[in-house]
């Protein structure tokens, strides 16, 4: 546990939800985030922005928008650190974590809270759609999310084991969160770490597709690279850290195994084997393998897009998805190589946008 003294007696919490927003140099986006929280059908009891020693006036903007602002004495170095700094201040039964560049649909909190009514549920996360879909990277991410949140997550939720309660928009039972020591910064992806620890402690996690959030995704390769590195290394770090305990959770171990297979074997095929075969056999026609699974992958993507009335946007974003998929595969292999083979773990938390 990173922070064993997180304060708060389980019985002393009042009804309602407190929103924690870790922020480092988010002056441009923080007011949209706070405003979308203030416009919710279910109002949060408190909105706390953790200004992690920003230099761009984030605190002033957040305060002007109506949030309570707290500031650690020095930069905590990670999102987990900023969130843990504010966790002792939470006085409500529920705690919500939301990124400083994320806005919510007007009823997102209300929809999310329905899932948390169940006594055994400690965390719930919602649907994620990029707020801007303009560059090739944003388009790739848009299709990736449509696939993940329209198909993969509902299936995982059916088996009661969503792989991750997304860090950009999730709500938690405060006492359960405190009992686990809050968020951990021992890996690059604190949300995977926390979600799995809830499972180990016997809690359930839910995915709520009707609760929609809109984060700003990396718009160029520079930022996308940072984010993909962090996510890839974070996943490998969590598998390495928790693999024994994951094996003891029947459905979770299957879902993690599929994700690990995808990270390793599929990435290897995409980035190494296929190019090798194309060169060795002098058969450029084998490049069709890069798009061979599209007919099937497109089915849930288009269904999700039709439901959102964004079919044209989804179709136009498919090339971006293919590019992002290949780049993602590269970073996953790089993470496996660095973390597991040469023992060069990623320790520096870099913002992806």
């Amino acid at each position: 546990m990173d922070n064993p003294n997180l304060g708060g007696e389980p019985g002393s919490l009042s009804p309602g939800i407190t929103v924690l927003i870790p922020a480092y140099n988010e002056a441009e986006s923080i007011s949209d985030t706070v405003n979308s929280l203030l416009a919710q059908t279910v109002q949060p009891a408190a909105i706390i922005v953790v200004d992690d020693c920003s230099t761009d006036g984030t605190a002033e903007v957040a305060r002007a928008a109506g949030a309570t602002v707290v500031r650690p004495p020095k930069n905590t170095g990670s999102k987990a650190g900023a969130q843990n700094f504010a966790l002792p201040l939470v006085e409500t039964v529920w705690t919500m974590a939301i990124d400083a560049d994320t806005t919510l649909a007007f009823d997102a909190v209300e929809k999310l809270m329905v899932a948390l009514d169940e006594k055994e549920v400690a965390a719930a996360s919602g649907f994620v759609v990029p707020r801007y879909v303009r560059t090739v990277w944003e388009r790739g991410r848009y299709v990736e999310y449509l696939f993940a949140f329209s198909f993969l997550k509902p299936v995982q939720d059916f088996f009661g084991k969503p792989l991750i309660a997304s860090g950009c928009f999730s709500a938690y039972r405060t006492d359960a969160l405190r009992a686990l020591g809050g968020w951990s910064n021992r890996t690059m992806t604190e949300d995977i770490d926390l979600t799995w620890r809830f499972y180990f402690a016997g809690w359930q996690v839910r995915f709520v597709p009707d609760a929609v959030s809109y984060p700003i995704e990396p718009h160029d390769f520079k930022f996308m690279r940072k984010q993909l590195r962090r996510w890839s290394h974070g996943f490998v770090q969590n598998v390495r850290l928790h693999w024994r305990r994951v094996l003891a959770v029947p459905t979770l171990r299957m879902i993690v195994a599929v994700a690990a297979w995808d990270a390793m074997v599929a990435s290897l095929a995409l980035v190494v084997l296929l190019p090798l075969m194309i060169v060795l056999f002098s058969a450029p026609i084998l490049m069709v393998a890069y798009v061979a699974d599209l007919p099937v992958v497109l089915a849930p993507i288009l269904l999700g897009a039709i439901r959102r009335r964004e079919t044209a946007r989804a179709l136009a974003s498919i090339p971006g998805f293919l590019v992002l998929r290949a780049v993602n595969a590269f970073f996953l292999l790089e993470a496996i190589w660095s973390e597991l083979i040469v023992g060069r773990p990623l320790r520096l938390y870099e913002k992806g946008h």
């Binding site: 899932a115 009514d117 024994r244 171990r253 297979w261 061979a292």
Partner: protein
């Protein structure tokens, strides 16, 4: 193996995919619409469907690629020159795709086996506070060493 045989096999996969994807999507819909706490709705076993769809993904993708390329070859003469007469590359592609599915099944099987080995097992004989061996049934029934009251 000629192109017609490959295509015929792929068509079977494609039909399989078409047959499985709709029930899966319907199942997911049913799950989403069911109220929380009311228990899971009864749907056709999702893992079976998911597995069939996985096979369908491989075969379906294969047939689409095969047909598309050979159709292209009919229209664009230059493409015909790129294609092997016996379809060797496509056989290779198919083997590759099936191997991918094979590796996934291997990984999942390995995880199950590992979890079995790593699971904490109930010892045949537990030790009581005095170091004496006790049978698990003694513990369950509230025996002397379990610390639970008698009767």
């Amino acid at each position: 193996m000629g192109i017609p045989v490959i295509t015929a096999i792929s068509v079977i996969f494609y039909i399989l995919m078409a047959l499985t994807i709709l029930p899966i999507l319907r199942a997911v819909q049913a799950i989403r619409r069911s109220p929380r706490g009311a228990g899971r709705p009864h749907v056709f076993p999702l893992p079976v469907l998911a597995f069939l769809m996985l096979i369908g993904i491989v075969g379906g993708a294969w047939v689409v690629a095969t047909l598309a390329v050979y159709r292209l070859a009919e229209v664009v003469p230059n493409v015909r020159g790129l294609l092997p007469a016996d379809g060797a590359e496509f056989v290779l592609l198919g083997i590759g795709a099936v191997s991918m599915v094979g590796t996934l099944i291997l990984v999942l099987s390995a995880v199950e086996v590992l979890s079995w080995f790593c699971a904490e097992r109930e010892p045949k004989h537990a030790r009581g506070p005095d170091g004496q061996k006790v049978r698990p049934t003694d513990l369950i029934q509230g025996g002397v060493h379990s610390g639970r009251p008698h009767g």
